[in-house]
């Protein structure tokens, strides 16, 4: 999945000469946490977070503070240079940037112009969709030897039953490199027939399992 599929294109921006007070108002009004700062060519020259703005604002504890600080230009507190991503970057790549750099927002830039932003929240939303937990499904886990061709072998069991697969995940099996756990989310309320088929084919099910005695 590429960044352009998940980015927000309606981006709230400010020019470098805007005031900190304006930034504060935009953050409140749009309930956002980041504002890219762009020049007249829509090039990203900085970014401010709600934390930057709060750090620059007078403390709520001190009276008679100088409210004039809010009239300073935003470029005086913006972070620069800015790490940006390309619309054709992969979502899993930018997940790495979020993790490594501890950012929560990345501007998306194409031909030197800002065209969108991706936030941590967008990233998590994508992750939820990838796991398939947002649509109706039943969950099955199969332990398989880690070898070529195993996934289509197991998947074909669902195909034969005409059971639609919502999502597939391949997990490591503890630290054992010889096995993998295949997690299928399937669109049926009655997984019993397909579970029986998987058992009959000799695969080991991690869920549902037989640990509990008489129940399957």
């Amino acid at each position: 999945m590429q960044v352009e599929k998940i980015m927000n294109t309606r981006v709230i921006t400010l020019s470098p000469k805007a005031t900190i007070a304006e930034a504060l108002q935009l953050l409140h009004e749009h309930r956002i946490r980041h504002i890219p700062i762009i020049n007249s060519d829509r090039s990203v020259i900085g970014i401010v977070s709600d934390r930057d703005v709060r750090d620059a604002s007078p403390s709520i504890f001190s009276k008679d503070t100088d409210q004039n600080v809010l009239q300073n230009e935003i470029q005086s507190i913006m972070s620069t240079p800015v790490v940006t991503v390309h619309p054709l970057d992969f979502v899993e790549e930018i997940a790495g940037i979020f993790y490594e750099e501890e950012f929560a927002c990345l501007p998306v830039v194409s031909n030197d112009k800002l065209i969108g932003v991706v936030t941590e929240k967008d990233m998590l939303h994508t992750l939820i969709q990838l796991t398939g937990t947002n649509v109706q499904s039943s969950h099955i886990e199969v332990k398989v030897p880690h070898k070529p061709g195993i996934l289509p072998e197991v998947a074909s069991i669902f195909g034969k039953r005409k059971t639609n697969i919502t999502s597939v995940l391949v997990y490591p099996y503890h630290d054992d490199p010889n096995y993998k756990i295949l997690v299928f989310r399937i669109q049926t309320m009655n997984p019993m027939p397909v579970i029986q088929d998987i058992r009959d084919e000799g695969y080991e099910l991690m869920w549902p399992n037989n640990i509990m005695g008489p129940k399957s």
Binding site: Q136, S137, S138, H139, T163, T188, N190, M212, P214, K215
Partner: protein, 385 residues
């Protein structure tokens, strides 16, 4: 104490039949009815006929386009591709002849139950043919075509303008009804179910609390797989009492799926008949306490149709009619008629023996986790409306 109660039944309920291998089998309704007749708690004068819900009534909740698709499927005129868009012709909800009529009867049964209670003819009414809580606005799913509960609640809102508390004890999350009223503060939904971590439909998390004006009026108790009676009853009873007191409904609708039993083949909960005695008793008590008795109960899931569902569902009626569950032996006449047809040995008493439940090594942890979920679900009920 005896209350005036109505039992909705027609043989037409049995026409809601996908195919012989499908787990959803309405023979359950007949088995329960005959068990009640054999026990002398159900008489001809208690029974009311369902009607067929009209298309206008179905459209209170469902899209016209979806109703038309079901009607086409009903006479074999729906293409496979069209069907998939509406969830029709899948493994879960295969197409069958006259499915529109059969499904409309189940909805009509629930509407008849609602009218019986709200026109003052009865205090309580039971439609075991209903409770099809997975039906969506424009999609069939989870064995459900039309969602009788959602249609009936819309009907109550339009025709009687009452505040409704919907309580769903099916082992699967009552998603169709929840989403139907997710933004509506005049309908409060409460579902206890096995966590969606593994089980269909996967939703019903404790943090699904409703949106917009409806925020705070959707409650979910997703309990752990292998939960047993004690923990189930503890969290269910606390939650239901607290929610009823918080919401103060005008009428209670219960969906009484009977698939949280340890024998049920589709789920992983470990309940026994204990919970199916307590569930109707509690609904009865709270309906009298808050709603002058107005209580409509529906069927739902339940896939051990021989050993579990007939007894579980009969107890709802026993409570409606006589305020008490039945104990002791199952009538010999019912056993001798149905044992011949059952692939399993039918239970001979109303209660289960304890040894039908497997030993669950993590029992204490499961109970603790369920209790935490309860606290989280009820986090906001202290703020009275």
């Amino acid at each position: 104490m005896t209350c005036k109660a109505s039992f909705v039944f027609s043989d037409a309920f049995l026409n809601y039949h996908f195919h012989s291998d499908h787990p959803f089998n309405q023979k359950r309704v007949l088995l329960a009815k005959e068990l009640l007749e054999a026990s002398d708690t159900l008489s001809v004068s208690d029974i009311i006929e369902p009607r067929m819900a009209t298309e206008e009534e179905l459209a209170l909740f469902h899209d016209k386009a979806y109703i038309n698709a079901v009607k086409k499927a009903s006479i074999g005129n729906l293409s496979e591709e069209e069907g998939l868009e509406y969830g029709l012709g899948t493994e879960d909800t295969p197409i069958f002849k006259n499915m529109h009529e059969a499904s409309s009867y189940l909805v009509g049964g629930t509407l008849a139950a609602v009218d019986a209670v709200l026109q003052g003819n009865s205090l309580h009414a039971l439609n075991l043919g209903g409770g099809l809580h997975h039906g969506f606005k424009r999609k069939a799913s989870g064995f459900c075509v039309y969602n009788d509960g959602a249609v009936a609640i819309k009907y109550i809102r339009e025709k009687y303008n009452l505040r409704v508390l919907y309580v769903d004890t099916d082992a699967h999350h009552g998603d169709g009804v929840q989403w139907a009223f997710y933004d509506d503060p005049n309908v409060c939904t409460f579902s206890i179910h096995e966590t969606g971590r593994y089980l269909f439909p996967g939703t019903g998390n404790v943090n699904e609390r409703g949106i917009k004006e409806g925020h705070g009026f959707s409650f979910n108790l997703p309990i752990d797989a292998f939960t047993e009676d004690e923990s189930f009853i503890q969290v269910y009873e606390s939650a239901f009492k607290e929610i009823a007191d918080f919401y103060k409904p005008d009428i209670i609708i219960t969906q009484n799926g009977a698939d949280a039993h340890t024998h049920d083949p589709l789920t992983h909960l470990c309940g026994t008949m204990e919970i199916y005695q307590r569930i109707p008793e509690l609904a009865h008590e709270l309906a009298h306490q808050y709603c002058d008795g107005k209580w409509v109960a529906l069927g739902g899931g339940g896939y051990d149709i021989w050993r579990v569902v007939p007894r579980a569902w009969s107890q709802i009626w026993n409570v409606m009619k006589n305020s008490n569950v039945k104990l002791g032996s199952i009538p010999e006449s019912w056993l001798s008629k149905w044992q011949k047809k059952a692939p399993v040995t039918l239970p001979t008493t109303w209660q289960d023996s304890e040894n039908i439940v497997p030993t669950i090594p993590r029992k204490a942890e499961i109970s603790e986790k369920n209790y935490k979920i309860l606290l989280s679900a009820l986090k906001y009920t202290k703020n009275k409306i």
